[in-house]
Symmetry: C2
Subunit: 259 residues, 2 copies
DNA sequence: CGACTTATGGTTATATTAACCATAAACCAG
DNA sequence: CTGGTTTATGGTTAATATAACCATAAGTCG
């Protein structure tokens, strides 16, 4: 249902002469600042918890609220570059998995819109990332706080970031089922149990028991047995496997597990 | 790999004093115009072809090139509104299925960026739509041509629109498998054969033969038999069914067919 | 009327899934 | 060093789902 905001339009035509080289001269076209907000997940394998990275804002709007890490896109910078910059500025990580999520851009989603002199809109191109928890180092730079939050304890966030987070979580669950992102955040070699742990902490239990999960994964033929055994505490030593990206190619977009 | 375009940055700081109320005063933040480009599909049930709507540009850049229908977002207009506007301005249709696709926003994707006085970037929030072919009426308004192109005969398009189209086609195929979009573009009541035709023209043959497709669809329990029979030319009359949206709810995100 | 065409409702072999179970090979407590 | 515990591994089996067919029903068409 197109709802043309006649209020904004008329104000605009009143203050901006038709053909002046003014940024709003196009009459009714909106001007945007574009932000990149990233839902950064990691899995705490020790405590079997899914974590999301939040930063504490110290500027209006939403001062003292937690929010998703983000940045405004700079001149000459692509959206991907900006998203990468968020990752490397906040956590020192070799970007493990990153993908665009959704673009939120309704008017009035950012309080700065009404505050600014010009009628500037703020657009958020959200991304979601999955990083290896052990390989990250938090950098509290330009923010008054930064922390990994267990997903279950995320507070009310700034802007529409709770909505973005929910969407990112959905996408993460989906990715895990249909693509081998898990192997991007697992170490080079890992046990089948490591994989299962990762899947259960993100997806919950109840998609397959361990035994069936094993056989399915092995039958896919995307794991190479290194022959090396590892013993971690009690129990029989487990084989270490390596992900075979080539073998996975033909299986693209085929479900790996079922819920 | 963040590649900060230092050239753009320095030019900017030369022409814009640090704290002036100029749109580029923020120093290194880029200013954007936001476009909405929509991949509009429909299925020609007569000729069993998948069609996509293209418009012929008559303005630089890419004058005389075919392109996806699009529009620049206006003041006070949400992204969804803009996408809706594209649909209603180009084809008179009660928007049947519409969803956001991907946001393309690298620098230099639009030639206008270098031509403009200000260093304005053009962002494209692409959408994809599936409409009922029979319910559309093309409106050649503000363009020098508008046409339904069979997907197989799409020429080279303006901007990066071929890429967007490819992505949209992928998404369409995916949607058809996992969600009941098909019933949005089918008439209120339809035969099982109608559904099968739609699926094969989009997905190609080879996911199920007709008989198995029928039993699967019926076993899902999302179709109500109206009891009414329809006879179209030769052959035994077929039952007319109606889609039961409520019955589908619990099946959300479960595959309906397999390739 | 007989031939053809399309819809419908099976059947059957094969593959997949889900729910178990038995054994192997480590550790650990006494 | 021995029996109990723990974890990994490699099955088995019944229930389901899939894929490839086939037979019949009920119309149209010549």
């Amino acid at each position: 249902m197109p709802t043309t905001n006649t209020k904004g339009k008329s104000i605009d035509s009143l203050i901006a002469p038709a053909n002046a080289p003014h940024p709003l001269a196009s009459g009714e076209l909106a001007d945007f600042k574009v932000g990149v907000d990233t839902v950064i997940f990691s899995v705490d394998t020790e405590q079997h918890r899914l974590l999301v990275l939040l930063v504490l804002r110290h500027q209006a709007p939403f001062s003292d609220y937690w929010s998703l890490p983000g940045a405004l896109v700079r001149v000459g910078e692509s959206l991907e570059d900006a998203a990468d910059r968020v990752l490397t500025e906040k956590i020192r990580v070799n970007n493990l998995y990153l993908e665009q999520l959704f673009t939120f851009g309704g008017p009035n989603r950012d309080p700065r819109e009404s505050a600014d002199a010009y009628n500037v809109r703020y657009l958020s191109v959200s991304h979601f990332a999955l990083v290896r928890f052990e390989d990250t180092a938090l950098i509290a730079d330009g923010v008054s706080g930064i922390a990994w939050y267990p997903l279950s304890r995320v507070p009310q966030l700034a802007f529409d970031h709770n909505q973005i987070l929910t969407y990112g979580y959905q996408r993460l669950r989906n990715k895990l089922q249909y693509s081998p992102v898990a192997f991007d955040v697992l170490p080079e070699t890992f046990t089948l149990s490591d994989v299962y742990q990762l899947y259960t902490t993100v997806l919950g239990e109840g998609f397959s028991d361990y035994s069936n999960f094993r056989t399915r994964l092995l039958k896919l033929g995307i794991l190479q047995d290194t022959g090396v055994k590892t013993s971690r505490g009690a129990g029989r030593p487990a084989s270490l496997y390596r992900f075979d990206a080539e073998a996975f190619e033909p299986l693209k977009d085929r479900p790996m597990v079922f819920l």
